[in-house]
């Protein structure tokens, strides 16, 4: 599985007998993959020619392997392409052949040989330094120690999936494992977040391809997400958006509006507050995506999506407040108001009882 990343990608591809037309096609599809306009294909060609395959170490912590499952369904480039041609995947629990001591040895070797050059991809959240390290360990070492040790000489860290990017499910209240995101722990290295539960496979490979092609990190938003994929909200790219603007909503999953494919806002769609590429890149080889399938967006690529209100509650509904709380507050207000009024009445009565009439003469005498 291991290959030295000593040749440029151009050389490596020519060794594989790739024709110049094939290379052109690779550039055109890579531009598409990176959500860049097709006009950038020549720039990609020039860059790919010089690119070197980076060594990649993939660390899995508190995760469900869903992100790896997603990655294995990437079709452009295929996982095989990615592993053999584009990157040197030197450590990955699920995909590597080696196990036990040999696996850990592979990680150390990759770190040693590519010091300062290698990429670390993380999926899963990490029990923080103050949490009980026993919640998640690999080969007897805590996730936190492994992360810090591996990241020390890395060129950059890619946090794949919402757990690694934002803490995700393990960090949902009450966060029993003290889960933290990569961004919370790694402060001195560039961190790219590729959130989603799971992220779109093409987005994972697209980010890796971007690093490979241009040798630097893509442009990021405030949450360290690549703008090429997370630059626009689901709502803004949704093909059902015209229905929102016309005020046509599905009220239930089985009503006429749902059958007509109207907007799912009232059924709890988090599209307005969610930034991801589902609406254009879609899932399963471009077949469909949740809203096209008739289900509201859950907002899985946003921080705290698990705690951000019910999945079937509209975005505008408050998180915890209901009619009973309001009634309680109203009742409390009533009592307070009653008390104030009673006090005021008492004051009036008291004043009336102790009233001492003053004549004009008396007042003038005082002056």
């Amino acid at each position: 599985m291991r290959k030295r990343p000593d040749k440029t990608l151009g050389e490596s591809l020519r060794d594989h007998g790739l024709s110049r037309r094939g290379f052109l096609k690779l550039c055109a599809t890579t531009a598409s993959l990176m959500a860049l306009p097709p006009s950038l294909a020549p720039a990609i060609a020039a860059a790919l020619e010089q690119a070197r395959r980076p060594s990649v170490i993939w660390l899995s912590f508190q995760e469900c392997t869903g992100c790896t499952e997603s990655l294995t369904r990437s079709h452009a480039p295929t996982l095989e392409d990615l592993i053999f041609d584009f990157i040197s995947l030197d450590y990955h629990h699920t995909l590597q052949a080696a196990s036990g001591e040999a696996a850990e040895a592979a990680r150390f070797q990759a770190m040693e040989e590519n010091k300062g050059q290698y990429l670390v991809i993380v999926d899963g959240s990490i029990p923080g330094p103050d949490a009980n390290p026993g919640f998640s360990t690999v080969a007897g070492h805590s996730n936190y120690d492994i992360l810090m040790e591996t990241v020390e000489h890395a060129a950059a860290v890619i946090a794949v999936g919402t757990c690694a990017a934002f803490g995700g499910l393990p960090q949902a209240r009450p966060n029993p494992t003290g889960a933290m995101s990569v961004m919370d722990l790694v402060r001195d290295k560039p961190v790219i977040n590729v959130p989603g539960c799971p992220p779109i496979p093409m987005v994972i490979t697209g980010v890796v391809a971007h690093y490979l092609v241009f040798g630097r990190l893509p442009e990021l938003d405030a949450y360290h997400r690549p703008l090429a994929f997370y630059g626009q909200s689901i709502h803004d790219r949704c093909y059902r958006r015209p229905f929102y603007d016309k005020g046509l909503f599905a009220e239930r999953f089985d009503d006429e509006g749902a059958r007509q494919g109207w907007c799912l806002y009232r059924l709890g769609c988090k599209g307005p507050t969610t930034y991801n590429a589902c609406a254009t890149m879609k899932w399963n080889d471009g077949t469909s995506w949740p809203i096209e399938a008739g289900h509201p967006c859950l907002g899985c690529s946003e921080p705290k999506f698990w705690d951000a209100g019910g999945f079937y509650e509209p975005v505008s509904v408050p998180l915890t407040l209901g009619p009973t709380t309001l009634l309680g507050a109203g009742a409390a207000g009533g009592v307070i108001g009653g008390g104030l009024a009673a006090m005021a009445r008492k004051q009036v009565k008291q004043d009336a009882a102790t009233r001492q009439p003053v004549t004009v003469d008396e007042l003038e005498q005082k002056l």
Binding site: R20, R21, G22, S32, P37
Partner: protein, 155 residues
């Protein structure tokens, strides 16, 4: 069967659903974009590529777009890093280019507004090597040795 078969190329999930026939209105802006690109091509020869996979199409939008564009006379297939299927539309100068992987999955689907799609033209580097390639094949074939007078007159 044609090289480009829309039914096979787009297993649209909603295609069998009666409701998918409704208009989502996302084909029209692309058609306008193609119109502007054609104007540029005619005026200055500037070529344009539109990545259809970056469009927020609803079910049926892509089919509606390709139906309007129609089918032209040219169909081509390039075998390099998997097949690439090229279909001329009924509008000369507007091409549908379908990049597919070795496993025949779609990698990218683009509209090219050009006299000829880029991938059909020989690469300049390949063209520069073409004479040498022919000479090599000629000598390999042994035909020039059998006919001594067949050597190029320019030499």
């Amino acid at each position: 069967m044609s090289v480009f078969d829309p039914a096979r190329a787009h297993p649209a999930p909603g295609a069998t659903c009666a409701r998918s026939a409704r208009e989502h209105g996302h084909a029209l802006p692309i058609l306008h974009e193609i119109r502007h690109a054609l104007e540029r091509l005619l005026a200055s020869g500037e070529e344009t590529r539109i990545d259809l996979q970056s469009m927020p199409f609803g079910p049926g939008d892509l089919e509606r777009l390709t139906a309007v564009l129609g089918q032209g006379e040219v169909q081509a297939r390039v075998e390099a890093l998997g097949p690439t299927l090229i279909q001329e539309t009924a509008i000369p100068g507007v091409w549908l280019v379908d990049y597919r992987s070795l496993e025949d999955q779609r990698l990218s689907y683009q509209i090219e507004i050009a006299t000829l799609p880029e991938i059909l033209r020989p690469r300049p580097e390949d063209l520069a090597e073409s004479l040498a390639a022919l000479d090599a094949r000629l000598s390999e074939s042994g035909l020039d040795a059998a006919a001594p007078n067949a050597s190029p007159s320019s030499s």
